[in-house]
Amino acid sequence: MSQLEFLRYVTIGQYLGRDSIIHRLDPRFKLLAFTLIVVAVTFSSTYTANVLLVLMVALLLSLSKLPLGHTLRGLRPALPALALLALFQMLFPPQSFGPAQDCTVIWQWGFVTLTTCTLQLIVVSTARLVELFVLTSLLTFSTTTTELVHGTEGVLAPLQRIGFPAHELTLVVTIALRFVPTLALQMERLVKAQIARGADFGTSGPFRIIKATRRLLPLLVPLFLISLRRSEALIVAMDARGYTGGRQRTQRRRLHAGPTDYVALIAATGFCVAILWIDTISLDQVLIAWLDTFLASLK
């Protein structure tokens, strides 16, 4: 029955308190730096760039003082899917990305051919996904949910001058996070009510799609209706208290940036630009050529 205690699953904040430079960064600067590095990962398509990115992620991980095993454990459930993705990329090679280059066949067996381009595609996309995985864990482990929300508001605040609803956006997140546990308890009650009526959750195999879907209806439809009813109550409550949006609103907690925050942001910007630059010049070919001549000189 312990599976039915739904609050156990509601683990949005995965914060792990450590006394590290990453934990102490101003959330606004941390978010900006994080975004820049994520952009660098997303648009990297070469071996060289990804080697540098892996090193960067490792450096950040060690700076954060987070336990390595705990951070990487989150990767374990994703491993089969990563392997499957790589397998499919090999069996049905997609269009390659990055600068156009000559592909040479490395290995062939039956209809399966592995070219240098496909190999690069598989290695780079796997590396990218692993890097992104560790980066997002790093952010959520080192930043509390409150800090994330305040940080987002701070980053978006300058846009308010041109009418961008930064405060309203963060209010959406705040209300949503506030209601997740409430709705979890509601869902628990709905599931228990169905079980009391003889519904069977948990024993369906993957081949009972229709059964699994029909079981969802008496859960999801009431869940939506109950939350809409709660929304109406909240709307009336906020209106009655005269909520009018956030332009002149002040905050209880103010964020202050120090020199470390600026250094971190500048370093992240430089790193991002460097990675994007490495991708445009064909450093891979140059390095591979060097390696070739080096190996030849050894013989």
């Binding site: 599976q3 739904f6 699953y9 509601v10 949005i12 997303t42 459930p77 994703a78 899917a81 990563l82 499957l84 993705l85 499919f88 990329q89 049905f92 090679p93 997609p94 269009q95 990305f97 996904l129 992104l132 995985f133 997002t136 959520t140 209010l171 959406v172 997140v173 209300i175 949503a176 996070l177 209601f179 997740v180 709705l183 979890a184 869902m187 599931v191 959750f201 948990g202 993957p206 799609i209 699994a212 879907t213 969802l216 209806l217 859960l219 999801l220 439809v221 869940l223 939506f224 209706l225 939350s227 809409l228 929304s231 909240l234 709307i235 009336v236 906020m238 209106d239 909520y243 009018t244």
Partner: protein
């Protein structure tokens, strides 16, 4: 201040409905029941996009797009499926779920409201499937033929589930009669 017919401000209504739908998305993503339907292919069909559709149909394209944005950010942070760790695949497709759902609904509303809701849900889900797989192809994670197969095996069941749930929710909330009315003589 802009108010609607019921006397509540439009801004507050949009914020709260969007927040509540984001809460449902996050909840379904975290709980062991409700968010995913196990499939024989190993990749689960999802119901996580339904709040974006419901929000879009009830409160307009802006709310729908906003719910989609937070759905995308949530799957970027929490998804176990590796391709959703790519921010382009996780966020961009989700922005459009609620928007296309609302546009389809608004266009067809004057003919038959229930049919419009159903078509909106189908189009919203289709947007998610097509854009996620399309970006996966563009980003080099899948070949076109593989993406096409996934679209057929997962897109169609997801559309059916989304239509049934969205129509039930919107019909019940707006109190639209689902049965043909009796004689009005």
């Amino acid at each position: 201040m802009k108010t609607n017919g019921q006397g509540t401000t439009v801004l507050v209504r949009r914020i709260v409905i969007a927040a509540m739908m984001v809460a449902i998305t996050v909840l379904l993503g975290l709980l062991p029941v409700g968010g995913f339907i196990p499939f024989p292919t190993g990749v689960n069909a999802t119901t996580l996009h339904i709040p974006a559709i419901v929000g879009g149909i009830l409160e307009g394209w802006m709310v729908g797009g906003l719910i989609g944005l937070f759905f995308g950010l949530f799957s970027l942070i929490r998804a176990a499926t590796p391709i959703f760790k790519d921010p382009l695949v996780a966020i961009i497709p989700r922005l459009f779920i609620g928007i296309t759902a609302y546009l389809a609904y608004a266009g067809l509303k004057r003919f038959n409201e229930l049919v419009a809701v159903g078509v909106g849900a189908a189009i919203g889900t289709g947007t998610n499937t097509v854009l996620v797989l399309g970006l996966a192809v563009l980003r080099g994670y899948m070949s076109i033929s593989l993406a096409g197969t996934v679209a057929l095996t997962h897109g169609i069941p997801e559309i059916i589930v989304a239509v049934v749930i969205t129509v039930s929710v919107v019909a019940a909330w707006r109190q639209i009669s689902t049965r043909p009315r009796g004689s009005t003589v």
